[in-house]
Symmetry: C2
Subunit: 354 residues, 2 copies
């Protein structure tokens, strides 16, 4: 494999010295880019984009042509695993992801298979391989998956939810069945991420989008325990290189100490969490990724620059920080505003690495 | 005024000894009760219920006839102040509250009046007086208002929002105008709550429903600062009795230390916050209210009892705890499940007050 020309993202995750703060952006390949919308329209559907490696590769590379990002992230969906389990993922306009066959009974859970990524999710593995090749070592490639808990919420609710009544009902009333499902998901997620690593992903990220709807004790028992299980099963090296792993729980700012103890190299922070306080709480143990408010990208560039400076100043001097938003970029952001953010990180972060 | 027959709610807020943990429930007068739905249907609209003191009084008292709650809360809406400012509050089925005349420009903000509660919000003040009279001293009456920040979000967005793009845009790009609006709202909220206190409210609560969407620094500057300003303007005594005040920020668990410093007697906790840790962080300064997951009321009564026991055990021995949900009760909960929760608090909490 080609050696990396720019490895500051990997180095920052491992808290090794860098000369500026690396930056990438959650959902950097996405609807805010006109060139993405064009490919998406030709593909016909979102899932068609995910399932054709050459299209997934193209949209993965698009943001890197525009912006000086320090990492690429596989273009895919967090719900590919439940789809491979036979739940039938589809998308409806404005309502988000749905499953044709949601998990309703304990028998449904008992029958859930652990997918083989090399066959059942081959389109993802092929996309990783193709993207890695096309990157030609310019920047590292991030693989990812939804967390076991987050996958479980969609599988039981049958889609997005407001109150999460069904999945919490299962958790409260049938905890053993819930644990069985989460255990199968942890095995599936680990196998899936390992296949991505073997295909060329140089770092991996676990997206726990819905951990933050749980009480503290339920978060530890039903979400974090399985994120830890995933991490324990992950390859930590490939091709002689360390493969760092990032854990992101949206709404998880209260639980950073427990999260820092789950074996990950870095924690993703949402924008509500104060990154200065987060570093004081856990920064001796893990790197931190984040955490500008995604909505601030609507503001004028001069305001955006100030917001970037605030995040950099709050993290402070030294390695261990990967600049990012606190959640995915919103679909109607002006790409020029993204450029203002990226340029500001390039301009103002070297002062923190002298 | 009739002296209180049951004052354990007030005592717990002031951290005075009680013989069991008091309990009430956010949105205890509401759609989960068939008798509420009947009155609501007769009234024709939600606002008609709020605007007719005899109807507001009736639905306020309904949950107290069913359950051994230790407080009544005024039946009203958090958006009465912007309505009195001339924004034209109305409700659409399934989309929540809306304003006919949202705040769009700096000129709109400059023209916002500070309403006189005794004239512009007289229907609320009359309702408080009538409810207090009808309670006949059985339990204390809680008055309430939306927080300045939370009111501002609805006023600028024109209703509910997902990304809060407009109000954050104003905050980022016109901070002086935002501060002017919040200052007017703080004055309005304080005058409104003082009018409720003078009419008979024996405690007040500030609902900061949307403080949790802000970054830490924006929360302090744009939400908490104005909650503090409101508190500084509030009457702390009426009719020779101390009037405690509660501050509730949904999603505010990260900021409890700062919140405990804003002058309130108690903090409301959402269900994500660990009440044991919260007590360790701020319980020497304020009482705590909460914080069972509202979704757990869907579970069978035996599960609910265990959830109640967990919250009581986590708060631990001694006064300073008011039992509540971590957010409002959901509209399709079975009232028998509420009874299971209330009975469990009555049964298991005395052990913590010996």
């Amino acid at each position: 494999m080609t050696p990396l020309k720019n490895d500051i993202f990997i180095k920052a995750l491992l808290k090794q010295p860098v000369d500026r703060t690396p930056i990438w952006m959650m959902r950097q390949a996405g609807r805010y880019l006109p060139e993405y919308r064009q490919v998406r329209e030709q593909a016909g559907s979102f899932m068609s984009l995910c399932m054709h490696p050459e299209l997934a590769c193209e949209v993965t590379l698009q943001p890197l042509r525009r912006f000086n990002f320090d990492a690429a992230i596989l273009f895919s969906d967090i719900l590919t695993i439940p789809d491979a389990m036979g739940l039938g993922l589809y998308f409806t306009e404005g309502e988000g992801p749905k499953f044709k066959n949601p998990v309703c009974t304990v028998a449904d859970i008992e029958q859930l298979p652990v997918p083989d990524p090399c066959t059942d999710l081959r389109y993802v593995v092929d996309a990783v391989r193709l993207i890695r090749k096309n990157l030609q070592g310019s920047v590292p490639l991030i693989g990812f998956s939804g967390s076991p808990w987050t996958l479980a919420t969609y599988m039981v609710e049958g889609g997005s939810s407001k109150s999460f009544q069904k999945v919490k009902g299962l958790m409260y009333e049938q905890p053993a069945a819930m644990h069985l499902m989460l255990d199968k998901l942890a095995q599936s997620v680990a196998a899936y991420l390992n296949a991505q690593i073997e295909a060329g992903a140089q770092a991996v990220m676990l997206f726990d989008t819905w951990g933050g709807i749980l009480s503290s004790e339920d978060y530890i028992e039903f979400s974090l325990n399985y994120a830890r299980q995933v991490r324990a099963l992950l390859k930590t090296e490939n091709d002689g290189q360390r493969v760092p792993a990032i854990l992101f729980t949206k709404g998880g700012g209260l639980w950073l100490e427990a999260m820092a103890d789950a074996g990950y190299d870095a924690l993703g922070l949402d924008w509500q969490t104060d990154i200065r306080q987060a570093r004081a709480r856990v920064g001796h143990r893990v790197a931190l990724q984040g955490n500008m408010d995604p909505v601030s990208l609507y503001a004028q560039p001069a305001v955006i620059v100030e917001k970037v400076k605030t995040v950099l100043e709050k993290y402070g001097p030294g390695s261990g920080h990967v600049f990012n938003l606190g959640h995915g970029i919103l679909p109607d952001i002006n790409p020029d505003h993204v450029k203002a953010m990226v340029d500001a990180v390039h301009q103002y972060s070297p002062a923190y690495h002298q």
